[in-house]
């Protein structure tokens, strides 16, 4: 990221010389739609096991960046570098399950139908607490259950890069909190590099090691969060981060405090 050129990696080494290579390596990544430059020469590195949250208002290009990493969009042709690991999976805002496949088949979609695959599906479904739904049809699941299946489908492949595109956006508030806790736990176990696209500031602070705000095609903010896990949303530093990030996103700090008060009740 341009603002952090020369930024030290999490283990204190310079990104170029450290032993373990990053899972995501972007240099001068550019993307425009027509005349509109959405991503303006972006640099980014994400280590394996690192959880990065990408915040930004609607239309700032967060989802475009994620889709480029997923291979669903092409960046502009320039001298930029775009490197991602081979095994990368995505959880979208919608579950995007195939309605004509049972839950277990959805989890292992695209993999050969072997006994190991079936065992993998069962294990992954157990991780998201849906072991008993393996033979259910997607249409019979609730929104939260379907999204957990989507999460199991993403994790069963042991991805080196997990892309989360507002995965909790369509869920109710209670289910969203439960899903966030589940994602935090599972990412701690599987330790992929994670890129979470969201516009929920609290979600970003609750889950991420590093928060980026995309504005004007560049990372306007880049903070490493220094909070112990599990994160307490009423912790003074949590509230301080919230106020700072909301202000950076153009929301008055008083609103931030009000949001905090509401969350304290929940």
């Amino acid at each position: 990221m341009s603002e952090t050129t020369g930024h030290k990696g999490r283990n204190g080494h310079d990104p170029i010389t450290r032993a373990a290579p990053p899972a995501v390596f972007l240099r001068r990544l550019r993307k425009s739609f027509g005349n509109k430059l959405v991503l303006d020469d972006i640099d980014l590195e994400v280590d394996r096991g690192q959880f990065v949250a990408l915040l930004g208002a609607s239309g700032t290009g967060k989802t475009t960046l994620l889709r480029i990493l997923a291979g669903l969009e092409l960046p502009d042709h320039n001298d930029g570098v775009l490197l991602v690991p081979k095994v990368r999976t995505t959880v979208y805002q919608e579950p995007r399950l195939v309605p004509s496949m049972r839950v277990a088949a959805n989890v292992t979609i695209g993999q050969p139908a072997t006994r190991e695959t079936r065992a993998d599906a069962e294990r992954a479904l157990a991780e998201v607490k849906l072991a008993s739904h393996a033979r259910a049809w997607p249409a019979t699941l609730s929104g939260g259950e379907a999204q957990r299946v989507a999460l199991a489908r993403a994790l069963v492949r042991e991805p080196e890069l997990l892309l989360l595109d507002e995965p909790f956006g369509a869920l109710d508030a209670l289910t969203r909190l439960q899903m966030q806790a589940l994602v935090a736990d599972l990412c701690a176990v599987h330790r992929p590099a994670v890129l979470l696209v969201t516009h929920d500031v609290d979600e970003a602070i609750a889950l991420a090691d590093q928060v980026l705000i995309l504005r004007g095609g560049r990372f306007a903010v880049n903070v490493r969060l220094d909070l112990p896990a599990p994160r307490d949303r009423n912790d003074a530093r949590f509230i301080e981060y919230r106020r700072y990030l909301l202000a950076e996103m153009g929301v008055e700090s008083s609103t931030g405090r009000a949001g905090g008060a509401i969350l304290a009740v929940s």
Partner: protein, 300 residues
């Protein structure tokens, strides 16, 4: 009728009756008299026996009217044969063994023709819906040919294939290619792009993507197309069985016309209706067998 009676019972009687049933009047303070029990706006499930009775009611009324008209002399025998005459014709046909023979002959032609036409339409529709190349090459021609009434092909097909089975099957195949093409093309076009994108992201490509994700999603469109194809095939049957055969319901229509047999004319109409019922039952069965995932989510 049910809606009306519901309205009466809910507004006039409902509130009091409910109060009697569940909450004795003394439990409700007088100060709550302004409040009301919400009128139920959903649909109450109807008992199966009533549903079947309602479905059968219109045909039964028509049958009774027909029977009354003929026995009372209001409908002369040159206008419409009486139910008794038609029944006698049916028995006559059944005893000669021709009833089953004719039905099977027509069903066989319709089945083979529709089978071929549907396969061709499906292949073209999928290739056109799936790939830009297919759309560019296939779609303009198909849209132009779709406007041609397939009965206009009869003289041409006879000159190519003669008047035997080949001609009949090709005619029916032509009639069902275009509906299947249009519906499968639309069906593939309307598959959830996001779901396909995600399936591809998880490594599903080519044939497996087509058979595991895209085709199952188009099944409702394909079954609708099959319904239409089977209905149209009956039209094709009439035209095809006018020449070059001594079997089939179309041939029976021809005979009835030649000998001016009112009873057989009506019998043919009833046989076509029976074919329609058989086709409908076949599609309903198919819906249950090939789309088990919809059984649990269907509204009705």
């Amino acid at each position: 009728m049910t809606a009306l009676s519901e309205t009466i019972s809910d507004t006039a009687l409902g509130a009091n009756r409910e109060a009697d049933d569940h909450a004795p009047a003394r439990l409700v303070p007088a100060s709550l008299s302004e409040l009301e029990r919400p009128r139920f706006l959903g649909t109450r499930p109807r008992r199966r026996s009533i549903s079947i009775g309602l479905r059968a009611s219109v045909p039964v009324v028509l049958l009774l009217a027909w029977w009354y008209g003929c026995t009372s002399g209001r409908i002369g025998p040159t206008i419409l044969a009486s139910p008794g005459d038609v029944l006698r014709a049916l028995i006559e046909l059944a005893q000669s063994g021709q009833l089953v023979e004719f039905l099977l002959a027509s069903l066989g032609r319709a089945g083979t023709g529709v089978g071929i036409g549907v396969t061709v339409g499906l292949l073209l529709g999928i290739s056109s819906g799936l790939t830009a190349l297919g759309e560019e090459v296939v779609d303009p021609t198909m849209q132009a040919l779709r406007a041609v009434p397939f009965l206009a092909l009869v003289p041409l097909l006879i000159s190519w294939f003669g008047i035997d089975e080949m001609f009949k099957i090709v005619l029916i195949a032509c009639s069902s290619t275009f509906p299947m093409y249009a519906y499968s093309y639309l069906g593939v076009r309307n598959v959830d792009r996001k779901m396909v994108e995600s399936a591809r992201g998880f490594g599903l490509h080519g044939w497996r993507l087509l058979f595991q994700v895209i085709l199952p999603s188009t099944l409702p469109s394909l079954l609708m197309a099959l319904r239409i194809c089977l209905a149209i095939s009956v039209v094709g049957l009439i035209a095809a069985e006018q020449v070059g055969t001594t079997k089939g319901i179309g041939y029976l229509v021809l005979l009835a016309k030649q000998y001016f047999r009112q009873d057989y004319m009506v019998l043919c109409i009833l046989l076509y209706a029976t074919l329609g019922l058989i086709f409908d039952g076949f599609i309903r069965l198919l819906e249950r067998v090939v789309m088990p995932w919809r059984r649990h989510s269907a509204v009705r």
